[in-house]
Subunit: 265 residues, 2 copies
């Protein structure tokens, strides 16, 4: 079983949905934010009431996810002809009080794709082939770095600050793409603040937003190919900064994603 | 009283928060989406438990808001040292069943701004002065067009499809800026699909995301000045398309905003 599929495993028990915070995707003080987004998406994707294809996912990180068990609460808020709206919470026991606490709150929208005129406005950037680029070196102590093979077209520390950061990315070991994996891949972008300051400072994602631009059949056709990410920021202001990014497979835009991140220093 | 302040008026009664769908900001089949986002933001801004400044707001439009009364349910999900997380729902009576129905679900995050290094990555676009540009003509039957003075630097139908659409915007009559008004202004962007197709087709916002890049003091300093909007789309795909946009006051980035919209034809 691929470590990603182990990490998003959920068990139905006592009328609840239960999982275990995935150590294989651990970051510094909790799981990598992308795997948390994937767990939220998996909880809805596997619900028999779910209709249509992922369209939008917003994940708000309310508190660090702790080691150990969590429960997922999901509510189907509304089903329309073209869209379906969900609310999802991840709940753990507060280690201080012993009471339940919401560590993640999220909303997901699903949309029925139709055979209508389609077009693209954004164009993919050009980058050197991933085979000739070096893999991003990460501390062995940070587990999630081992789960993704990330290769910068040019290291962000050496890129002009006005240009987007380009990175190739795929699961390690490779895994066929689906919308759950895509949600996690949307958090692999390099925090541009590090490049801007030319040093690593403490940062944490507060909120992540993802728009899915293709459906299940198109994602399945990607297989385990390299994806190209293009990320930039607009503003770093008094403790918070944003990121906006695109994930491409060749000429096809798979997802656009946005974050607001907390920083210190 | 300014029509905007009337539109966002909420009354506490029977342990609930109540309002009336604002006819002064009516769009075609419901209120203009921006005024709904403003109502959500107002509900939290005026809660005595609210701490710090708006950071992120995601509004999911689950069903058209009907004429008549609505109720707001707001939950304070979590307060941390640097962030505060809220959930908000707008509820109306389903005209078909007589049961309560969620017409809007939203999440808001507030953040404590600190005296830290700040910087900007995006640069404002250049546009002709608004005084010399014509006001956007809109049907007299669409009320919200009367509430905003919108002036295109170049009409979107005449702009190259790869370039962002630039528009000046302010309340009509002018009104001092705050985060609630800013939330509404984030929905004034022209649907690029119209320009791409060179015709108006049915569209509706499914989800809107806003990141606030400045705090209350900086917004107050803007007063009722013109804001410059810069909007573009990445993909139109089988019934849904995205928008990403920035709102500027001079050199200062006030907000970035993203939407996913449904379209037909």
């Amino acid at each position: 079983m691929h470590p990603f599929d182990q990490a998003i495993e959920l068990t139905e028990r006592d009328q609840g949905l239960h999982g275990e915070a995935p150590l294989a995707y651990w970051n510094m003080v909790g799981p990598y934010g992308g795997i948390t987004a994937a767990i939220v998406m998996a909880a809805v994707m596997r619900d028999p009431r779910r209709e249509a294809e992922p369209l939008a996912l917003t994940v708000n990180y309310c508190a660090p996810v702790q080691r150990g068990p969590y429960e997922i609460e999901r509510s189907l808020v509304r089903t329309n002809r073209s869209t379906q709206h969900w609310r999802v919470e991840m709940i753990q026991t507060d280690p201080k009080t012993g009471e339940p606490m919401v560590v993640v709150q999220a909303m997901a929208v699903f949309g029925a794709r139709r055979d209508l005129w389609s077009g693209r406005a954004a164009k993919p950037p050009t980058a050197a082939s991933p085979e000739g680029l070096a893999r991003r070196r990460g501390s062995d102590e940070i587990a999630w770095f081992q789960r993704y093979d990330i290769r910068f077209d040019r290291h962000p520390f050496k890129s002009p600050p006005d240009e987007p950061v380009l990175h190739w990315v795929r699961d390690d070991p490779p895994r066929p793409l689906d919308s759950i994996a895509l949600a996690s891949l949307c958090d692999t972008f390099f925090p541009t603040l590090f490049a801007r300051r030319q040093t690593v400072v403490p940062v944490a994602t507060v909120s992540m937003n993802i728009y899915f631009h293709v459906g299940a059949a198109e994602l399945a056709a990607v297989g385990d190919a390299w994806l190209l990410g293009e990320g930039r920021s607009n503003a770093y202001h008094r403790g918070f900064f944003d990121a906006e990014a695109r994930l491409w497979h060749g000429e096809q835009l798979l997802a656009t994603t946005h974050q607001v991140m907390w920083y210190r220093q």
